[in-house]
């Protein structure tokens, strides 16, 4: 029995070598067949049929080689206990595929056919990787004589390709945003313009089809699956639906799920905001201080246990266990990190952290961190220069205030003093876990306020930006307009000025940054989200074989 052990897309004699083990150099790969090649709206693994040529191409091949089975003898393929019921196996008979295995410990093949020639099998996973199945399947061929005596056996091992989630360093191909009408038209116009400049396909999701649920970032997390093929690695796009249970969650099913576009449907009934996509990010590839290597990066979710800002009974809020377990079980971008977000009203990582390309840094990327200290320092500088009466959030009815109005708001300032201590702890956590230097974590000005049920960004949360690197080396950043005081001569937004200075220092003349500020004030910010929350992005993965890592 042979499988594509050397991962070149074909099953050959040479594949006999190392077929029963799995390493970075040898071991066959199979696919969780959760795309929709026949466009019937259902994942291909669900039915017991092979739905056309494209679906057949999704099956990992195994060949039971011609063998003179003794008269009255049997040919049986045993499925390793871990994979039983989690894979499906088809047999190719003259181009027609029929299911020969879906449950149980084994299946048999007609002895006459094995005697007559090679028998071609096609294997798919029909269950996602999980804590109860690591994605490995051992198949053991046993040929027995008529009296049951073992004539010979051969074992092969396959591993299910893991879903790999995108990082902000991957180059965007498509940018999706929900059109909710005039309320977010300014944001859409800005985003569309930046996408055009960056060569990214800009796609508007009709809000009317999704009850104007604009939080598309929260609905799902795009990624990819890489499979071996005769022409090198084969990319299948993938999207992980999150346990949110709100209207726009269906967007990934309706718009992305397609031939060669996987859908991993949500698998928890829990609908806590901690499960949303804004609470799921991926740090780019790195080697951690203790030496662990993360060539595909490392997933980070938000959560933890702590007292609310201002004190009180400690609360525990985390992404639901099923998803955290899933990320760990995938084994490619984990074990995941968990950073403190439980004190935030929404509770998302992207409220205080973002990752951007940083070509001026040796590492090539940097972490952006919300900083009340910086926001306050900038305002204090403005006030010290006589600008205390300058307006902040100018013209925003009901929200406009002044520099002094903020700096003399004792409840707000005391609250932010404590938030900054939390941010200090998060900075230390990143330094310890990721091995980042202090200089690789860039503060950006964000004040927080008590939203009653936790902290929320007081000014538009500039960290919550849309990151668009391009193949040409330019990085476009769509940053929520912080709407700070216009200070200095000529008058410019003091918060923006600080942001520009800090971000531009991360880039070079050859790999520059283009910063575009977007109006998110009433379209996202006052609804407790920002720019990143309102977008979702399909990105190009690096040209890199995960099985080598």
């Amino acid at each position: 029995m042979d499988v594509d052990t050397n991962r070149n897309g074909t099953v050959e004699a040479v594949d006999e070598t190392g077929e029963s083990a799995w390493s970075t150099t040898l071991g066959a790969v199979m696919y969780f067949n959760t795309d929709d090649d026949d466009n019937n709206g259902s994942e291909d693994y669900i039915d017991s049929a092979v739905n056309g040529i494209a679906d057949a191409a999704d099956l990992a091949r195994a060949f039971v080689r011609t063998y003179p089975v003794p008269s009255g003898g049997t040919v049986e393929v045993l499925v390793g206990s871990a994979a039983q019921g989690r894979i499906r196996i088809f047999r190719n008979s003259g181009g027609a595929w029929t299911s020969v295995y879906s449950t149980g410990a084994s299946f048999t093949l007609p002895a006459s056919e094995v005697t007559a020639g090679d028998v071609e099998l096609g294997i798919e996973a029909n269950t996602r990787i999980s804590p109860t199945w690591d994605g490995y399947a051992t198949l053991t061929l046993e040929i027995r004589q008529s009296d049951g005596t073992l004539e010979g056996s051969d074992a092969v091992l396959l591993r299910c390709a893991p879903e790999i989630l995108a990082t902000n360093l991957w180059i965007p191909e498509q940018m999706h945003v929900v059109n909710v009408g005039s309320n977010n038209s300014a944001f859409r116009m800005t985003l569309s313009s930046v996408c055009s400049a960056a060569g990214v396909t800009y796609v508007e999701i009709p809000g009317g089809s999704y009850s104007n649920d604009r939080w598309v970032q929260d609905s799902s997390e795009p990624g990819i699956v890489y499979l071996p093929s005769t022409s090198g690695r084969r990319r299948v796009d993938s999207v992980l639906q999150l346990a949110r249970w709100r209207p726009v969650d269906a967007w990934c099913v309706n718009a992305l799920f397609n031939p060669d576009f996987d859908l991993v449907r949500r698998f928890s009934s829990n609908s806590s905001s901690m499960n949303y996509g804004g609470n799921l990010e991926v740090f780019p590839p790195h080697t951690a201080p203790m030496g662990a290597n993360y060539p595909w990066g490392r997933i980070v979710t938000g959560g933890g246990t702590s007292a609310p800002i201002g004190g009180g009974t400690p609360v525990t809020r985390r992404m639901v266990q099923a998803y955290r377990d899933y990320f760990n079980a995938l084994g490619i971008q984990g074990p995941h990190l968990e950073v403190s977000t439980e004190w935030l009203a929404v509770g998302h990582v992207d409220e205080h952290t973002s990752i951007v390309p940083a070509p001026a840094n040796p590492r090539g990327w940097a972490v952006l961190l919300a900083s009340p200290q910086l926001a306050r320092d900038v305002l204090q500088s403005v006030a010290d220069a006589g600008g205390g009466s300058l307006t902040v959030f100018t013209g925003r009815s009901g929200w406009q205030t002044t520099v002094n109005g903020i700096l003399t708001n004792t409840a707000l300032m005391t609250y932010n003093d404590e938030v900054q201590l939390r941010m200090d702890a998060i900075r230390s956590y990143y330094m310890t876990q990721l091995g980042l230097a202090d200089s690789e974590i860039i503060d950006l000005p964000v004040l927080f306020e008590d939203a009653g049920s936790g902290a929320a960004a007081y000014n538009p949360g500039v960290v919550n930006m849309v990151v668009i690197p391009t193949a040409g080396g330019t990085t476009h950043l769509v940053v929520p307009d912080p709407e700070g005081p216009d200070a200095g001569m000529p008058a410019t937004d003091a918060w923006r000025t600080e942001i520009n200075t800090r971000l531009q220092a991360l880039y070079t003349a050859a790999s520059p940054v283009v910063i575009t500020y977007a109006d998110v004030f009433f379209s996202y910010h006052t609804l407790l989200g920002e720019a990143h929350c309102g977008t979702n992005t399909v990105r190009t993965p690096p040209a890199q074989d995960w099985w080598d890592d």
């Binding site: 004190g311 009901g398 005391t414 006052t526």
Partner: protein
């Protein structure tokens, strides 16, 4: 001329009588309140201005003053009154668009400012049943959100007029969550007057949750007496959560950002209290090293320069627990101090 004066005098008596009647409406009697309020509104804003002035919000007179002020705001700022009466964040069609699909109105009500406070207190006392909450659990969540915000707002904007209202809620048999929020807001807006109800409740309440809220509320009172109240109780408090909140309260009381924000307070007072908070925290660290996490946070907030040396000294302590705790607190404190520089 005499006729005009007599008419004005009679009108004043009528206003006062109408306001007396309005203030006398029993809590929760929304229809009676609204009917009586219509009579008061007919007198016009000018007649109400002084009657709702901050100085009239006394222990005996605050209900009447609050009603007068609520009427005045209704007459002078109808748009604000409508927004406070019907916060957008309580409307299902609005909050369905929020990032979390749940009612939320604290931010918009905080931004309504001081003029919104009498309207909110009026809502709490008399007219909550007039609000068109949704049916079932959704309606309960909306009302809970509204009630929480009403208690929350006066503290956020430090509106001392609400201190008697908050004291009343704190002393009531109302839901504990409301009493807890009332305690915190009272600490934020009540000044030294808040200390008596807070310390009495802290010392006498039977539920740890309420005691905990009072413990953390005391730290919101920016006075030396608050520091004394915390220190004296820290030495004897047996409940872990309450003790932790007292420690946390020292951080809030000594918060460097908090004192920076009080532009009208003499620097000497700020330094005196911050220094004392820092010393109290270092002392607690030496006695209760297991509380190092909360102590570290509080010391970071106070960011008093001398505390670095004091904690460094503890890091050489002969007690392994104290030594370990001090070592964990030091980087937190150092970072906070370096930021302050």
């Amino acid at each position: 001329m005499l006729n005009i004066l007599i008419a004005a005098l009679l009108a004043q008596q009528d206003v006062d009588a109408a306001l007396d009647a309005l203030a006398a409406v029993k809590p929760g009697e929304a229809d009676a309140y609204v009917a009586t309020r219509d009579r008061v509104l007919a007198f016009g804003a000018a007649a109400l201005k002084d009657r709702g002035a901050a100085g009239r919000w006394t222990a005996d007179g605050w209900v009447r003053a609050m009603a007068a002020e609520a009427c005045r705001v209704r007459l002078e700022n109808g748009e604000l009154a409508r927004s406070v009466d019907t916060p957008r964040g309580l409307l299902p069609a609005e909050y369905a668009q929020f990032k979390m699909r749940a009612p939320m109105c604290t931010q918009e009500l905080v931004r309504a400012g001081a003029d919104g406070v009498p309207l909110l207190l009026e809502r709490w006392r008399w007219t909550m049943t007039k609000f068109a909450f949704s049916e079932g659990d959704a309606g309960k969540r909306e009302e809970d959100c509204y009630r929480h915000a009403i208690l929350f707002v006066p503290g956020q904007i430090a509106d001392a007029r609400a201190r008697h209202f908050l004291s009343e809620v704190l002393a009531s048999k109302d839901r504990e969550a409301w009493r807890q929020q009332a305690a915190v807001s009272l600490g934020q807006c009540g000044g030294t007057e808040a200390l008596a109800p807070l310390t009495q409740t802290l010392d006498a309440a039977e539920t740890p949750g309420l005691r905990e809220a009072c413990a953390r509320a005391i730290g919101r009172v920016p006075e030396r007496e608050a520091l004394d109240a915390i220190r004296s109780r820290l030495a004897t408090e047996r409940d872990d959560l309450v003790r932790r909140s007292l420690i946390h309260g020292l951080g809030i009381l000594g918060s460097s950002w908090g004192w920076d924000s009080r532009k009208n307070v003499a620097a000497g007072k700020a330094d005196e209290i911050r220094k004392a908070c820092a010393e109290a925290l270092v002392d607690v660290l030496s006695r209760l090293p297991s509380e190092q996490e909360t102590i570290g946070l509080a010391l970071g907030m106070v960011a008093w320069p001398d505390s670095e040396n004091a904690v460094e000294a503890l890091a050489s302590s002969s007690s392994a627990d104290v030594k370990d705790a001090a070592a964990k607190v030091l980087p937190v404190l150092k970072r906070a101090l370096s930021r302050r520089k």
